[in-house]
Amino acid sequence: MAEHQLPERQSPLEPEYHPGSHGNFEHGVDVILSETRPGSILQLAAWPGEEKRLIEAIRKVTGLGLPDGAGGGVSNGVRAAFGFAPGKFTVVDEAEGLAAAFAGAITPAIGTLTDLSHGRTPIRIAGPKAEWVMAKFFAIDFALPAFPLGAGRSTNHHDIFAQIQRSGADQFDIYVFRSFARSFWKALCHASEEVGYEVH
């Protein structure tokens, strides 16, 4: 039987996505903006008391060991996971099909799985001024001791809800609703002009 062909996914940023250097970059590019376009974005939620079993299921299916504690997370460049609310986790994979891989692991007794692969747009900001630009958007502490590597945070920029994971010492992945993504992207580009930015 012929393999099922998935349609190619279009970026919601496309009309405003302009690779190259922009803004005040004569003295150097201080942030790099990009769309990471992972194949799978899942939201997993545990019933009260089932959090440990859900974390174990994430480890079994993805190989990612989530650290203890609120907002704990981990990222290995291909897959990523982080807590964003009590008993709730975002799990991301470069490849498509992660929901199917979890189907047998998240039983109805443990919790629920929601496939958001087409519902969220992850935007990456990286570089020496990433913390600076992020701090203009969100009223949370982006310093490394307060926001450790791999950790996740839920917050919002005006009414655009955002889940943020620190995926590097000077790198953040921002998950926004797909329908707001282009507007958020334009705002992020404007905010990055003063430091000089490059779109990859």
Binding site: F84, S154, N156
Partner: protein, 92 residues
């Protein structure tokens, strides 16, 4: 005004939504006790001081919280998940 969410840590009040007086006791849905329903809907302590309140971290983790706030100073004395569990004392 900062509210310390037990999950997210200290956040600006703009991320939270007030869900009402935390002292209300809702009658059973089938209750015919009109005085109890009247008290649930209208009676408020309205204290000048510490007040039990329900808030939602609607712009963050979306958890519902039990918050004790001083109505004179806006000091947040404590926060906890509304369904029980970890409690964060804020007054030093």
């Amino acid at each position: 005004m900062l509210i310390t969410c037990p999950y997210c840590g200290p956040r600006d009040v703009i991320e939270f939504t007030y869900q009402g007086d935390g002292n209300r006791k809702r009658p059973q849905p089938a209750s015919q006790d009109l005085d109890a329903w009247n008290a649930y809907v209208y009676d408020r302590l309205n204290p000048a001081g510490d007040h039990n309140e329900i808030w939602q971290h609607s712009g963050g983790c979306r958890a519902h919280l039990r918050v004790v706030r001083n109505t004179l100073t806006h000091e947040i004395l404590s926060t906890a998940f509304a369904r029980g569990g970890h409690k964060t004392e804020s007054r030093s």
